[in-house]
Symmetry: C2
Subunit: 379 residues, 2 copies
Amino acid sequence: MFNKRIKELRKKLLKEKLDGVLISSISNITFLTGYANFSGEEREAYLLIGKDFQYIITDGRYSEAIKRQVVHFNLFERNHENKLESLLKSLKNRINVLAVEEDDLTVLEHKFFKKHFKKLKSISLHTHRSIKSTEEITKIKKACQLGDQAFEHILKKIKVGISEKSLAWEIEKFIKDQGAQISFPSIVAFGKNSSIPHHHTGNDILGSESSSGQEGLIILLDLGVKFENYCSDMTRTVFFGKPSNKQKEIYETVLEAQKRAVSFANSKIKSGEAVKASEIDKIAREEIISKGFPTIPHSLGHGIGLEVHERPSLSPKSKDQLKLGMVFSIEPGIYIPDFGSPRSRFGEAGGVRIEDLYVYGKKGLSQLTNSSKKLLIIP
Amino acid sequence: MFNKRIKELRKKLLKEKLDGVLISSISNITFLTGYANFSGEEREAYLLIGKDFQYIITDGRYSEAIKRQVVHFNLFERNHENKLESLLKSLKNRINVLAVEEDDLTVLEHKFFKKHFKKLKSISLHTHRSIKSTEEITKIKKACQLGDQAFEHILKKIKVGISEKSLAWEIEKFIKDQGAQISFPSIVAFGKNSSIPHHHTGNDILGSESSSGQEGLIILLDLGVKFENYCSDMTRTVFFGKPSNKQKEIYETVLEAQKRAVSFANSKIKSGEAVKASEIDKIAREEIISKGFPTIPHSLGHGIGLEVHERPSLSPKSKDQLKLGMVFSIEPGIYIPDFGSPRSRFGEAGGVRIEDLYVYGKKGLSQLTNSSKKLLIIP
């Protein structure tokens, strides 16, 4: 699998008249080697790939692991005696034009590599990665299944007295107890916190009084699993106490926006037309605006795989086209911020988001996350 | 506190003849705003600071939180209608020379900002951050205390049948149950896995047979806590079963190397001499080499604060000088790789590392991590 990917990369080099490529992003290192343990805190490794060589460059902290696990690359262990410069000098005659990941490499690193090669150009593996293999889809599916189980598990834990943090912690424990990882810190937002699309899960506690008013309390849950390096991502919004009519309307509008986006994509696929990501975004966005609600303050969706956010981008300005084998989220949302007054014309501040992952198949989109989307009232 | 830091940054701008500075790294954004919830997965925010303006630039996912929590900055919410370009254009006449963080900004971003300003220069806040305030030291101390408690807790869990992953998970649960975070994924390495300085905690299980041989089984534990955004970092190596004489020698040599490094630093401080980080590294390194063991395959230590690894660097090539208020690790290690034969001349493959954090005080170094370093045999 990795050799096939490297072969495809070499084809790209040939086509774009590049002599070599420097891979610096952790996700692309994982994509080409299968090794996923470098940390993103600082630069711990590079790949340097040319027509007839492929090096993995790292330091003594990782070299033992790399020797065991990345046998299809030559290990260059950089240290005070064995400097990266010496490798670059030895490759000078073989590399005139080196491709780098401009969206990952820092300015400082660029200056360093520029000293050694005639020309640095830009390369991106986005398109290589956006279309998933059957094996990759199987892993994402498994991550989605674990996410569904985590959601089912967490519903039982929603009780008066529990905090957002405790719920997020319960999600994490459940996922890790299954031998998987979280793909991002779970978002748990109670009440008006749900009006912040990326609320930082905090210490708010679910109170008994929350549900005694005229409205239910919104609980927004956004969680993701990482299984064998592949990510899932799903959002559900449930109500603690009976929702008001306005809250119901918001919920149904968000759900309808998602449905319309999926139907539109399916009709395009069936008719054999190209599916523009921006068009899907527009369908969902307009459904929400047409009901008098504010537009979605984020993209409708994003590709997913080794990273939680990758290509394609489903947004108004996206130039991406959806293609067979792509996996992405469709996640419309309505967020009513607290305008300073206790209630805006939409009712209490709060937000609803519904997010699922889909894979683009021959017959249309298949939903990979399968938790119920029926409006759920707890208890 | 944040206003004081911004004031100091403005002094730096004046001194270095810079009209403005673009802050992109999450740790520096936290340092200047106190807000720590941006994710490192993609660029979610910038700070743009000049003589008489200070903007925080982010998107709709974060703007509600920023409005509440970062009141000392002007929020610029970028979206499809309100583009970053418009802000940059409005500042064009006020910024000729913009400083950027070249070790953080990507090549692509650099190209983008270069379009808007006459000149981009490099800036670094490393020196601002390396000397800690009393308040910062208090937070690091608290993180260290929690780390000590986690270590005490985990010792009770070391039993036949437990896996590396389970132990790491127990550490994480303990830390999070105290309301803190882990500052990095804990390293738990059994036996020869300890010969990999950055072993990726795996599924190896502690077997009853492990301790029945002529040697004890090494268990290396490297763990860190994040408390109110400040990190701790500590490593202890314990033995499951009675260690061989060679293992004891390795352990005592590592401990002695650490002691000598600390004593050397203290003698320099007492005599009022400048303390070069590279000299401290040398003392520990030479102690290990003098006993016939391989050199430390990593730096002797690193500064710590908002990030696990920051300045100063205690390494052979470091130009850093240790100064009053700096907090850093001293972590010598001896690692005997598995040369393919079951036993090398040092005995079974394995590694020992001992790591503590120290703060540079007026009278010398104070140790902040306080778990026992006496050679510990379990059970």
